[in-house]
């Protein structure tokens, strides 16, 4: 049983009178204010690198690339109901693929395209045995894969071993140099846009609906004729490909890769971001990543300010990840964005009721589902 499976069960209990906002909203014809909002957000974030300073650009790139990974996790956990605590592995595979290719005189653009393919292929191979597992078994299996990956990289000479790969050239396309902070920020934005677009199309397609059914009950989905194993594997590979794509841009940006850069806690922080925003929601993933990264970076600045001990930034970031995850899981188990969306949709749809409809009921609570879906 997974979180989203419970989530689905709750929705079912709530009955057809109160369908979940995400399920009820027609996917094809988005209302124009929503489309306008999306366009405004896209434009604002696209213009942002022009005004940011160097530190701001570093944070911007970090957020955009982490968001690619988190959107993948959100798909995997929210729609396919599978937990992965090893997503940083695919980020690293993407980075190493691009780095090894570029260091062997392959054009950076080819490295960028090869990275998601490599990460996706590894995920396909790993997924065949691993996706037979569920819940905490899968969680531990993915951590085990992460630890094995670190040992393998440390032992591999082509991947630079413990020391790592150094001097990775910056990104460029056809001789045009795109290695400076601002260009990489635009590249990251583009990569994230591709990830969001692909995810959106997957969610709204027929396989997307099948995935949601699968997260609720694999048995029921299978009896409805959904090829459960193949779909789970596809989403796993897709989320890995997103992470790999982000990892390759990260490698070009940082110019240096070592196994120490990808600890198990990195995979867990991605899950924290997805949980904060809300599993199974692209906007949730984007919001969660931005919010968590901004908070951690702000506290990091406080931590490095004068008079603070040198371990203060680490302490603060661990505390933020821990506290945020606890508070969100206990008090907003569906994440911030779905909770907000529910509230807004309720406000829009609640008032225009006929007197007959609300008669005999507490007017303030007319038709509202219980908070958080709890009985």
């Amino acid at each position: 049983m997974s979180i989203s499976a419970r989530h689905g069960a709750r929705q079912a209990r709530r009955g057809p009178a109160e369908p979940h906002a995400a399920y009820a909203r027609p996917r094809t014809g988005l209302p124009s204010p929503v489309l306008g909002g999306i366009a405004a957000t896209a434009l604002a974030t696209l213009l942002l690198p022009l005004v940011l300073d160097r530190g701001g650009l570093a944070l911007y790139i970090d957020i955009a690339l982490s968001a690619c990974v988190v959107v993948g996790i959100s798909l995997l956990m929210g729609f396919a109901g599978q937990v992965s605590l090893g997503q940083a592995v695919f980020f690293a595979i993407g980075g190493y693929t691009a780095a090894v290719l570029v260091l062997n005189d392959v054009p950076p653009l080819v490295g960028l395209l090869a990275a998601p393919v490599a990460a996706g292929l590894v995920a396909l191979l790993l997924g065949v045995p691993l996706l037979r597992l569920h819940g905490h078994h899968l969680a531990f299996a993915t951590i085990a894969v992460h630890l094995i990956f670190l040992v393998v990289v440390q032992q591999s000479d082509t991947l630079g071993g413990n020391v790592g790969l150094m001097g990775i050239p910056g990104f460029s396309v056809g001789g045009i140099d795109l290695a400076d902070h601002r260009s990489i920020a635009f590249v990251s934005w583009g990569v994230l846009a591709v990830v969001v677009l692909v995810s959106h199309n997957v969610i709204t397609s027929r396989p997307g609906r099948a995935l949601r059914a699968l997260a609720t009950s694999e048995t029921a989905a299978e009896s409805a004729g959904i090829p459960v194993g193949r779909y789970k594997l596809t989403v796993f590979a897709l989320s890995a490909a997103f992470a790999g794509l982000a990892g390759s841009v990260w490698a070009y940006y940082v110019g240096f890769l070592s196994p120490g850069m990808f600890p198990v806690s990195m995979s867990i922080t991605f899950v924290v971001m997805a949980a904060v925003g809300g599993m199974g929601s692209i906007w949730g993933a984007l919001f969660g990543t931005t919010a968590v990264k901004l908070i951690v970076s702000y506290l990091g600045m406080l931590g490095t300010a004068g008079g603070m001990p040198d371990y203060a930034p680490a302490v603060l970031s661990y505390a933020v990840y821990g506290l945020l995850l606890i508070l969100i899981l206990l008090f907003l188990p569906h994440g911030v964005v779905p909770a907000l969306r529910d509230r807004i949709v309720r406000r829009w749809s609640a008032p225009p009721r006929t007197p007959l409809d609300t008669a005999g009921r507490d007017p303030g609570k007319a038709g509202l589902p219980p908070a958080n879906g709890r009985p």
Partner: protein
Amino acid sequence: MTQFLMFLVNGIAIGCGFALVGSGLVAVYRITGVVNFAQGMFAVVAALSATSFVALGIWHGVAELMAVLVGGFAGLATGVVAVGRRGTQPLTALLVTLAVGFLAYAIEVLVWGDQPRSLPGLDGRAALLGVPVQRQYLLVIAVTAVVFVLLWLFFARTYLGKALTACASNPYAARVVGIDVTRMAFIAFALGGVLGGVAGVLVAPLRPISFDSDVSLIVGGFAAAIFGGLTRPMMALAGGVLLGITEVMIRAYGDASYGTVGALVFLIAIMIWQSARRPTLHKEAV
């Protein structure tokens, strides 16, 4: 041959560490259905506390006992956060324990810094049937044996242990006969903390412990516990010992750097084998 026996004792001792962490996982999982990711953290907290207590000049033995108590309190606190709020689903609770582990990182770094610390244990060697063995290894094995006997006595012979077992097999029926299931869950977490603490103070002299040692401890413990389907402590002991021996033998006769990989591959293989034997429908019903 002597060398092989030395490695064997070494492996059993390391395996006992895994088994103790695993038994804490089993204690919590049996009663609450939650896989407690913070189990490795209890061991780390107890080990680090022990180093501080010893540095304060408290006698060996007393310092370790106090550290085990600290582990128990850490367990209780984790339990209150993870299952104190009614209606928390087991997989959500798993993520909550993960978050508690992260929060503990912050506290551990704040108190003990981010460098590994080691605890002096028993030094010297004793001859066992003509084989020289480090005395700390013998201590680990002996304490583990005592702990598992006590654990068995506790679950099988005491009223509290029976109540805990009742919660494990059917929480609803347990509540009907007047057992406070939530309090039992807290007791289970405290017990998990104590078991993790024992593991921590025993393992700390064998290898330096830093705040992020919990990942390797919890993965080893989980691998041991999964042997008995996370519900049977004795199988966790068997699994832990087998893992420990495998790891030491790979280090000794194979490639030292792949020592942990053997255990991890083993963990994945066992889980896949177990899942293949259980139909999907059964898994969804649990």
